[in-house]
């Protein structure tokens, strides 16, 4: 009886995740090896049973296509580049914010933290949409600058890579601040005092004590920004325009516009492989935190 209870508590979430998280990846993997066809579903079977012969049609063509058409490689490269620099920007902005919050007194601290998190409780889509009105050619910034007479012609900001950077940093900033803050707030102040007492200048204390001790928070924050950014769809779609190439957008178009499921699957598999290292990195960190 007791064993049964324990087992079912493990089994229910386990099975759910197995069926709705792990198995889907295997299916994506499988379909990436099939060919597109105009049918329902729009792909060929890998395994066919005809005339008492079992045939396995492993089609590597999709992957060859990804390599040959430089659109995909460029999309992967620019996704990683954009995600990387956006993560660096988010870290440079987020760390000082987290640091300042962690140094505030308890009551102020909670209020500030709430203010950082509040935007992410409102719609992501709408927050990105808000930037469209600000950045476009007849948007708030251009109108304002032209009104004062600083510029005569609108600066093109919407539909540029700059807008995508801005959007990622804006949308993901709270996810950078939160883990770093959690880490910094646990930092024992007497360590900083000890360092000062031993003759270390404040900036040196920061570099030799605070920064290394907040490494775990920095790693978590960077992963939380970088990984989803690589596959981001909404931000390049709404702010990046046709010019900006990102793999999430390519996958979306392959799937919804071209209805090419095998290519979309292959794109997803390659993206997953690309993210495998950062994801495992993040997992190691998270699993340690969850199980300890």
């Amino acid at each position: 009886m007791k064993k049964f209870g324990v087992r079912s508590v493990i089994a229910v979430p386990y099975l759910w995740l197995l069926v709705f998280f792990l198995v889907p990846f295997l299916i994506v993997f499988k379909i990436s090896f099939s060919e597109m066809q105009y049918a329902i579903p729009p792909y060929t079977d890998l395994v066919t049973w005809a005339d008492e012969v079992l045939t396995i049609n492993l089609n590597l063509g999709t992957y060859a296509y990804l390599i040959n058409d430089d659109l995909y490689i460029r999309a992967y490269m620019s996704s990683v580049r954009i995600a990387f620099f956006a993560t660096v920007c988010a870290l440079l902005i987020g760390y000082p914010i987290a640091y300042a919050i962690a140094r505030a007194d308890t009551a102020t601290r909670n209020a500030l933290l709430m203010l950082v998190m509040l935007p992410s409780w409102t719609s992501f889509l709408i927050r990105i949409y808000a930037w469209v009105g600000i950045l476009k050619n007849n948007g708030l910034i251009n109108n304002g600058l032209m009104g004062i007479g600083i510029i005569d012609e609108p600066i093109a900001m919407l539909n540029t890579e700059f807008a995508v950077y801005l959007g990622i940093v804006y949308a993901y900033l709270p996810f950078m601040v939160l883990p770093i803050y959690t880490n910094l707030v646990k930092l024992d102040n007497s360590l900083l005092e000890a360092s000062a007492d031993l003759g270390c200048a404040p900036w040196k204390t920061f570099l030799t004590v605070t920064l290394p001790l907040s490494k775990a928070g920095i790693v978590a924050g960077c992963m939380l920004v970088f990984i989803p950014s690589v596959g981001e769809f909404v931000i390049p779609e709404m702010l990046g325009g046709a010019e900006t190439l990102m793999i999430g957008k390519v996958l979306w178009q392959e799937f919804f516009n071209n209805r090419d499921w095998p290519v979309a699957s292959a794109v997803a598999i390659v993206m997953l492989l690309l993210l495998l290292v950062p994801i495992t990195f993040f997992h190691r960190y998270k699993a340690r935190e969850l199980e300890s």
């Binding site: 324990v6 299916i27 914010i97 300042a100 989803p228 999430g248 997803a268 969850l290």
Partner: protein
């Protein structure tokens, strides 16, 4: 860490940071009351767009679908997430525990396009081989949302469980309560605030999701973000500003209430520990 006065430098940085975070939102709210169709030129105060929003049957229908899915998905995610947290934090090692923990945390960072695509392909494959689900719609969106929300709920709840002194649960056992009763009489009431915040988090995540829902949805199940996205693609519309204002207002209200509760709790324990 040091609790003390903020230096001028910190104040500067915080102000800039908050300006960056809030300026776009505030602009959005202001222009929702704009009379003009042009979203960037102020032409006088008006509630016109709110009126139009509430007369738009597509928007209202989508909002209703999204709310239903969000409530149901958040509730299921809290149940699954609580179970998963108990397994991760309270149960000893068992075969496959590492795999379990990885599966729980993986959806936290998984790009949405991948999750969406993979779930859709699963539903298609299941529909073909098992005949279920026959048609994609609210049910498939619900399943997808439960799956990724569980991860977030599990993180919130397990961090609360870790803080909970295990000897409190042992004490309940010692006083004669079998494990399932310990969970319902002691563990659950103590971690209830974490369940509430987990539920709220899952609710907002579900309400906010565009990408995954777009993949797994079918005809007749258009969620609010899908509706907003398709009209935002057509261009800026003040109606969306009005909707945004309502969402922001509700979210702020919820967070403020939560914050006020947390503060009151905090104040009470502070006054007690001082005497």
């Amino acid at each position: 860490m040091q609790t003390g006065k903020l230096s001028n430098w910190s104040k500067w940085f915080l102000s800039l940071g908050f300006f960056f975070l809030y300026a776009p939102i505030i602009i959005l709210v202001i222009f929702s009351f704009n009379k003009s169709e042009l979203v960037t030129v102020w032409a006088g105060f008006s509630f016109k767009w709110y009126g139009e929003l509430f007369r738009d049957p597509q928007m209202l229908g989508a909002a209703w679908i999204s709310l239903k899915i969000a409530v149901l998905a958040a509730s299921a995610a809290v149940v699954l997430g609580t179970m998963a947290s108990m397994v991760m934090v309270r149960m000893g090692a068992f075969k496959g525990k590492t795999a379990f923990t990885s599966m729980i945390t993986a959806p936290l960072v998984m790009p949405e396009v991948i999750t969406g695509l993979s779930l859709l392909l699963l539903f298609v494959a299941m529909g073909q081989t098992l005949g279920w689900p026959g048609q994609r719609g609210m049910l498939t969106i619900w399943i997808a949302h439960v799956t990724f929300c569980t991860a977030f709920v599990a993180v919130v709840i397990s961090s609360r469980l870790q803080e909970l002194d295990e000897s409190i649960e042992e004490a309940a056992q010692d006083l004669g309560a079998p494990p399932w009763k310990v969970f319902f009489l002691v563990t659950l009431p103590i971690i209830a605030p974490a369940l509430v915040s987990g539920w709220l988090l899952a609710f907002t995540l579900s309400l906010d999701d565009l990408v995954i829902a777009s993949f797994v949805s079918g005809p007749g199940a258009t969620t609010l973000p899908m509706q907003v996205f398709s009209s935002a693609r057509l261009g800026i519309s003040p109606q969306i500003n009005a909707l945004a204002t309502i969402i922001i207002g509700l979210a702020s209200l919820a967070v403020l209430i939560a914050w006020w509760f947390a503060r009151r709790e905090g104040m009470r324990s502070v006054t007690i520990s001082e005497n």
